[in-house]
Amino acid sequence: MANPVELKLTAKDFKSDQEVRWCPGCGDYSILAAMQRFMPELGIPRHNIVFVSGIGCSSRFPYYMNTYGMHSIHGRAPAIATGLSASRPDLSVWVVTGDGDALSIGGNHLIHALRRNVNLKILLFNNRIYGLTKGQYSPTSEIGKITKSTPAGSADSPFNPLSLALGAEATFVARTIDSDAKHLQSVLRAAATHQGSAFVEIYQNCNIFNDGAFELIKDPSTRDEHLIRLEQGQPITFGTDARYSVVHPEGSFGLKVQEGGTPLIHDATVDDPAYAFALSRLSGSDLTTTPIGVFRNVHRPSYDEIVRKQVHDAKTQATGTPEQMLGELLNTGDTWTIL
């Protein structure tokens, strides 16, 4: 990796020449700005960075980043990015996706990318709604949600994206919020340095079709009572004066929030995903106790690494030029010669 100082990049360098076309007030703007400010930190030249997205409001993201980018088709970004990442170790590959794109049509590619641990940074902009198609419920919408497609209320329980990711063997799982640029960047930083798949859920406000979905944990008047900031090695407390603790009742597998008590010390590096899973269950649709930060961050060789090593080993053992090897390959097996 090049030295960040040498590159002398600024946020502006990451702005493309395309006019940004989200609705005024959309949470996507904040994420874009945070990303553009974060990117120079990476110390990677712009041309070695690629954003791949699916379809959705969120998936317009690549157009606005002055890097390489592909706005692909609905749900397929993880698959496309897998091919790119596996064949191009020199690139930093980011996937931007929405709750519909990643969890509805693209659910299978997502869970397979995670289990493979492909070296992708996957940012899921979760606004709990289909924005681009103008307001149908999504797999993260609360049950009973009334939308254009569910006038009598939706009938399906939502996914908890983090639980799903953990069930799919994800090695890095985090959550952050569009409006908290500093936190967002801290999570991006952790994701960027993770080797393998980093899955980041970003709560994002869609002010047109699902306005205020995350208000409880954004509004300064309620936020502190509901938002739990996870910090590696730190006790998990929140509320004014750390009033509430997240505790692990004896004999229990889940977690509880209570006033006082001995708070759990957060450790994202625990190998057993049961811990992060328990943590992920703290937050339901109602957001009353919502952890943000890095839930899980463990090491497992990435798919790309293993695949490339296999190719590399085979190449190292090979002798001769490719042309010679090809000649030999064609001549393999029982051959005969007509003179």
Binding site: H47, H71, A79, S87, L326, I338
Partner: protein, 634 residues
């Protein structure tokens, strides 16, 4: 159906044999043998070995395996029958043969399943040991066909194959089970004797195969020898046959199946384009073997990824192509049906991609182990919007090698997805392949974009090469060429999102024109006497049977012309002219007339579709009969 209609009649010349002076030796010009037995009987291997021996001898060959649909259907049942047909001759042949001259039937099921295709007079070698009550009952034989007169039209050779093998291996130090298993080698030995095959390669093969269990090497060699000796010594077989080497172009040959050749063609395309090959695939019959084969060639920088489904497979291949790899995805019809949306994206992105469809019988799951050509329409039209791409098809097993290279050439040169339409018949059939020398293979190198492409130093990702109409292939990692692409309509040149009506009209027509202007070779016509009034037009795997039928007709003094399309999109520039030169155009296809529709629409000629959609390739005889009628009665 008469054997005489299969092409040139089998010619016999009786002489005194040299290798086995006690037996009469007949010269034949061609033979079709079918080995048939239970899935567990090793018939594919037996056929393979016989083919290899035959290849060593220099005959021209064509083979066709026939697998059961089930992994292991219950032993001894009709669905469990596995067979392998080999056709060899002292001249160049085009098909694995319509009907066998010899059937080796390892059990009652094998006899029953194959009898209907045997012409009268054919030889049948049966393993009498398996004609037990129980086995006969399994396939619904009330009495043994060996005992009644139901086989009276054939020359039946009853051989106690199993027990003789077991007997021969009594002292070989192998279990009874292993001894019984070697019965296919006994059969191979017998057939090798009958047709005077050189057997060294088989002995070497056995040494390789059982390297870790020397007792099995010995046992199998012994079984082979026992079979050979049985032929030579018993009176059951009085005649031995010889088929002289064919006059083939000088060079080194190997026998190869279509799927193998296709795999090697992709490896070669990687080498000749100096691009790493990236295969994204999801297993599916009959395409899986390409994935298996390519996964062995990592030393060429080939990466294979078994994806979670067909959509991910093509997605990954497209992602790799975006990154500068030769992206390939291999599948069969149901898989292509799933890939349509991503192919459409690849068309919009104008990136190279090779999509291999090894066709099988449809619709839906259909008959996965049977052949068909019914995906042509899907290849041409199976996507939303105007989404043109290039389509090509190999005509024979070995041609799959060259077709793969041609697909890669078009993909990388013109930056377009290319669909390669193979099918189960060429994929699993085999034939001798004159090995090309590596540097004769086309040079497929294309330059990546490395710098801005406008006078004022900008980079326009959709500025086209005036010759090829290809846009620059500017892969991530290239400094200064950062740009964004996507599936929304793009403005000409800049590639920015555009909803401008005139731009869309322009881009739609440009995408079509890009494909229409791909340089493809003219189609050749085979009309040796130049006096034909009827032209047979084909594509893909029907080449062999059409060719054989045409030859047979010509030998009978009936002039007929043959043209075969490798390129289905774009069609060769001279095709219209070629078609116009004949009174009648006949298009045989293993579908309901898909190419015929295209030809009729484009050239407004009353082309006649002749269709067979039974899951089986045309026999030469079927086509010969049909064409004879057309030539004679118009």
């Amino acid at each position: 159906m008469q054997i005489s209609t299969l092409g040139p009649e089998q010619h016999r010349t009786t002489t005194v044999g040299t290798a086995a002076p006690a037996k009469r030796v007949e010269q034949l010009d061609r033979v079709v043998i079918r080995f048939a037995g239970d899935s567990g009987d090793g018939m594919q291997l037996t056929g393979d070995r016989f083919t290899s021996e035959t290849a060593q001898l220099g005959n021209d060959i064509s083979t066709l395996p026939n697998f059961p649909a089930e992994i292991r259907a219950p032993a001894g049942t009709l669905p469990g029958v596995s067979s392998f047909q080999v056709h060899f001759a002292d001249y160049d042949i085009l098909t694995p043969g319509d009907a066998p001259n010899v059937l080796v039937a390892m059990n009652p099921a094998a006899l029953k399943a194959n009898l209907a295709e045997l012409p009268a007079g054919a030889d049948i070698i049966v393993n009498t040991d398996e004609f037990t009550k129980r086995n006969l009952a399994k396939v619904g034989y009330a009495t043994s066909p060996l005992d009644d007169d139901s086989l009276s039209e054939y020359a039946v050779h009853p051989v106690a194959l199993t027990s003789m093998t077991v007997g021969a291996l009594a002292d070989a130090g192998v279990s009874k089970k292993d001894a019984e298993r070697a019965k296919n080698m006994f059969a191979l030995g017998l057939l090798s004797w009958m047709y005077s095959r050189p057997f060294e390669s088989t002995l070497r093969f056995l040494e390789r195969k059982f390297a870790k269990r020397p007792e099995l090497v010995a046992a199998n060699k012994a079984a082979f020898q026992a079979g050979w000796n049985y032929g030579e010594t018993t009176e059951a077989f009085t005649v031995r046959y010889e088929v002289k080497p064919a006059k083939m172009r000088p060079g080194t040959y190997r026998n190869i199946t279509g799927n193998q050749a296709l795999s090697l063609g992709l490896v070669a395309a990687g080498v000749r384009s100096q691009l790493p090959v990236f295969l994204g695939a999801y297993p599916i019959t009959p395409a899986s073997d390409i994935l298996h084969e390519l996964s062995k060639h990592k030393r060429f920088g080939v990466t294979t990824m078994q994806a979670e489904d067909e959509i991910a497979a093509i997605g990954a291949a497209l992602g790799a192509a975006y990154g500068g790899a030769l992206g390939v995805t291999t599948t069969s019809g149901p898989g292509v049906a799933l890939k349509g949306e991503t192919i459409s994206l690849a068309i919009a992105l104008e990136l190279p991609l090779v999509i291999v469809d090894v066709q099988r019988a449809g619709p839906s799951t259909g008959m996965p182990t049977k052949t068909e050509q019914a995906d042509l329409n899907m290849a041409l039209f199976g996507r939303h919007g105007e989404a043109p791409l290039a389509v090509i098809a190999p005509k024979s097993p070995s041609d799959c090698f060259h077709a793969a290279i041609e697909a890669a050439r078009i993909a990388v040169t013109y930056r377009t997805p290319v669909i390669l339409l193979s099918d189960n018949y060429v994929a699993n059939g085999s034939e001798p392949w004159l090995l090309p020398s590596v540097d004769e293979l086309p040079d497929l190198q294309v330059p990546f974009a490395t710098e801005p492409n406008t006078a004022d130093g900008r980079f326009l990702p959709y500025l086209r090469d005036p010759q090829t109409m290809a846009r620059p292939w500017a892969v991530p990692g290239t400094p200064g060429l950062e740009h964004r692409i996507g599936g929304l309509e793009k403005a000409d040149k800049t590639g920015d999102i555009s909803y401008d009506p005139a731009n869309h009209e322009f881009m739609v027509r440009t995408r079509q024109q890009r494909i229409d202007t791909i340089a493809v070779p003219d189609v050749d016509v085979e009309d040796p006497e130049e006096n034909a009034r009827v032209l047979v037009l084909g594509w893909g795997s029907t080449y062999g049977p059409i060719g054989a039928a045409c030859r047979a007709l010509r030998q009978r003094g009936l002039p007929i012309a043959q043209a075969h399309l490798r390129h289905l999109a774009p069609l060769p520039a001279n095709l219209g002219e070629v078609l116009a030169g004949y009174d009648k155009v006949v298009i045989p296809e293993m579908n309901l007339g898909q190419l015929a529709q295209l030809i009729r629409a484009k050239y407004l000629i009353d082309a006649v579709a002749f269709n067979q959609i039974s899951g089986l390739p045309f026999t030469a005889a079927t086509l010969e009969n049909m064409l004879e009628d057309v030539v004679k009665n118009g």
